[in-house]
């Protein structure tokens, strides 16, 4: 099956070539899940539960960056990047063999389909990034992450500190502007992000919602976080923020109903910051 390239008016030779090559890396399936290149034992179940009847294709344009060595299985840096696919409205991150597989969801809004964060892994597992386009198709990329076990069943580091509750909700962060005007937003919120699986019997306690808004309240992007997101969630997002905006707002809420608000100043220009794409070279 060949997908129609968005915004395509005439089929130029190059475009035609691309369309011809496309079947080489997209394996569409409708009725049942496409065969998993990572041979995960739970893939079929995971697809049904996560995507229902929606169309799912494996797509190399969905990039995932994970470290070549896991230093700390409670803090594994992951970058999900679906910027090569046009019209992505939602990005989700899954870990097949985690006791809790759904890691987070990014509703893009004015943000690019890009998020960098840290997560817990309970054992070596495939990590998936699924990007849904406005047409409703899920484009899935995956990597196999080797790791020692225990990230999800370990107590939060905060649980070793008597005064951990004093720091919950403290936030730190900064916004940069890339040359093309894109705002690069990095935020850290103190929170134990308890999975509920640690043997100290601490119940699940985690930030489940993190919305980004303009100063006037207009939504820019939305995040749903789940238990596998690492303690003290630290995220990097790229989004369009009007040049006139001097700040943006984060509003988070944990599963106990506590609301956390942050205001980040947005610089007008950042001349020494190369465009996001260059910086990645």
């Amino acid at each position: 099956m060949i997908r129609t390239a968005p915004h395509r008016k005439t089929a130029r030779p190059l475009v035609r070539l691309c369309l011809l090559l496309m079947p080489l890396y997209t394996f569409p399936a409708t009725a049942q899940a496409p065969a998993d290149p990572l041979h995960s034992p739970v893939w079929e179940t995971l697809v049904k539960r996560t995507f229902g009847d929606a169309r799912v294709v494996f797509d190399d344009r969905v990039k995932i960056v994970v470290p070549s060595i896991v230093e700390n299985q409670a803090q594994v840096p992951v970058t999900a990047d679906a910027r090569a696919i046009p019209n992505v409205v939602q990005v989700i991150v899954l870990a097949d063999l985690n006791p809790i597989q759904h890691v987070l969801t990014l509703r893009t809004g004015k943000a690019q389909p890009y998020i960098s964060f840290r997560m817990k892994v309970e054992q070596a597992t495939p990590i998936r990034v699924a990007a849904m386009t406005s047409g409703g198709t899920w484009h899935v990329g995956g990597v196999y992450l080797d790791a020692t076990g225990g990230g999800c069943s370990a107590s939060a580091m905060a649980r070793n500190e008597a005064d951990w509750s004093d720091t919950v909700g403290q936030a730190q962060g900064k916004v940069w502007r890339d040359l093309d005007g894109t705002a690069r937003v990095r935020l850290r919120v103190r929170h134990p992000m308890d999975t509920g699986l640690a043997k100290d019997n601490t119940p699940a306690f985690y930030i489940e919602k993190l919305d980004v808004r303009r100063a006037n309240g207009e939504p820019l992007a939305g995040l749903e976080l789940f238990e596998p997101v690492s303690e003290d969630p630290t995220v990097t997002l790229l989004m369009r923020v009007p040049a006139s905006d001097a700040s943006l707002l984060f509003e988070g809420r944990d599963n106990n109903g506590t609301v956390y608000k942050s205001v980040l100043p947005v610089p007008l220009h950042q001349s020494w910051m190369p465009a996001a794409t260059e910086a990645r070279q």
Binding site: V42, R49, V65, P67, S68, I69, V70, E71, N72, Q73, Q75, P77, T79, D96, L97, N98, P99, I100, Q101, H102, S116, R118, Q123, A124, Y144, D146, T148, G149, G150, G151, S153, A154, G169, Q170, A171, Q172, G173, K174, W176, R184, R186, L187, R188, V189, G196, L197, A198, K199, F226, D232, T234, T236, Y260, K261, S262, V263, L264, A279, R280, Q281
Partner: protein, 331 residues
């Protein structure tokens, strides 16, 4: 809970800390099933003579893996008229036993003292092959082992596999202070320092003028930073640079006269720290910082990209918590 517990593990809680100290394995699953398991497991210890009565068993310039059995660190043997002295015991019981035999064979004497330069697993898990009463380390090393030793063992079993069989943590029973120790014809002078870890031991042999730097000094192998205080490490390197010596034995890499190891370790730390801080200040995330090119001179250093990547992961969370302004608002 939105799913059944698939493959939930029974690993200990302290695993997270363990892995942060371990060079670790970047093995792919098919390699783990591969042929290395079937090979007869014996360490090929080749003593390299440095001076009269002093040998080093050179570590392999690799990350800990199921093929090298974790024998990646230098281990030294010193012959004295009072008996053999050993500096660091290697990664496993099997290694310790082989080391014990080599030391006896080279010196024709029993081992009377074992020093541990610091608490990292590639240096301490041969302890079991020796009497704990003669194993000596600064209190900081012993404390570190008490806290993380068992987790290190767990992580080593996973990274090095069957090479670790039977290996258990053995704590040193002798506390090293700044007092020199006399072993018949030799006086060994301990220097209690820190930087690579919270407690690093350097040994100076007055007779030969050889300085055993432990992992404060790396040469032609990239320094590791899981428990490093980089600023303190640089100060310590300046201290080491001021000690006249005939030969310097690094924790990893070749023994050489002069101070190339000290300078290279210092240059590495400065370069890597500056690059990571610059990336951080520009707003790059960990993945982007890891992908940055490194200066050309680092290419000839073994494991440079691997250790750079690890150091990015060690430093970034510290920078995020210490450098970013508070942005939360009262609700």
């Amino acid at each position: 809970m939105n799913c059944p517990p698939v493959g939930a593990s029974s690993h200990k809680l302290s695993r997270r800390q363990a892995m942060s100290a371990l060079a670790g394995s970047a093995l792919f699953p098919w390699l783990r099933i591969g042929g290395a398991m079937a090979a007869p497991l014996s360490y090929d210890l080749k003593p390299e003579k440095l001076a009269n009565g002093i040998w080093v068993l050179r570590g392999i310039p690799e990350a800990i893996s199921i093929t090298n059995g974790g024998a990646i660190a230098n281990v030294s043997i010193i012959d004295t008229t009072a008996g053999a002295v050993i500096i660091d015991t290697g990664p496993s019981l099997r290694y310790g036993e082989a080391l014990h035999m080599v030391a006896k064979k080279l010196t024709g004497k029993d081992v009377v003292r074992v020093y541990l330069t610091h608490f990292h697993p590639d240096h301490v898990f041969g302890n079991q092959a020796f009497d704990a009463a003669i194993i000596a380390a600064p209190q900081g090393v012993i404390d570190g082992l008490k806290q993380l030793g068992n987790s290190f063992a767990d992580a080593m079993y996973r990274a090095a596999g069957d090479w670790m069989r039977g290996t258990e943590l053995v704590l040193p029973q002798h506390v090293v202070t700044n007092e020199p120790e006399d072993f018949g014809n030799r006086r060994l002078r301990p220097l209690l320092l820190r930087g690579h870890s919270a407690s690093d031991l350097v040994i100076f042999d007055e007779l030969s003028g050889i300085l055993f730097g432990g992992d404060l000094v790396f040469l032609d192998r990239a320094p590791t930073t899981p428990h490093a205080d980089i600023e303190r490490w640089r100060i310590t390197l300046a201290t080491l640079g001021g000690i006249p010596h005939n030969l310097l034995v690094p924790g990893h890499g070749p023994a050489e006269p002069g101070d190339r190891g000290i300078r290279q370790t210092r240059d590495w730390l400065e370069t890597v720290e500056a690059q990571i801080k610059t990336a951080f200040e520009k707003g790059l995330d960990i993945g982007e910082a890891t992908a940055l090119p490194m200066p050309e001179w680092t290419a000839k250093i073994a494991l440079s990209r691997y250790e750079y990547e690890r150091t990015v992961m060690h430093l970034y969370p510290k920078l995020e918590s210490s450098r970013w302004p508070r942005v939360d608002q009262k609700t």
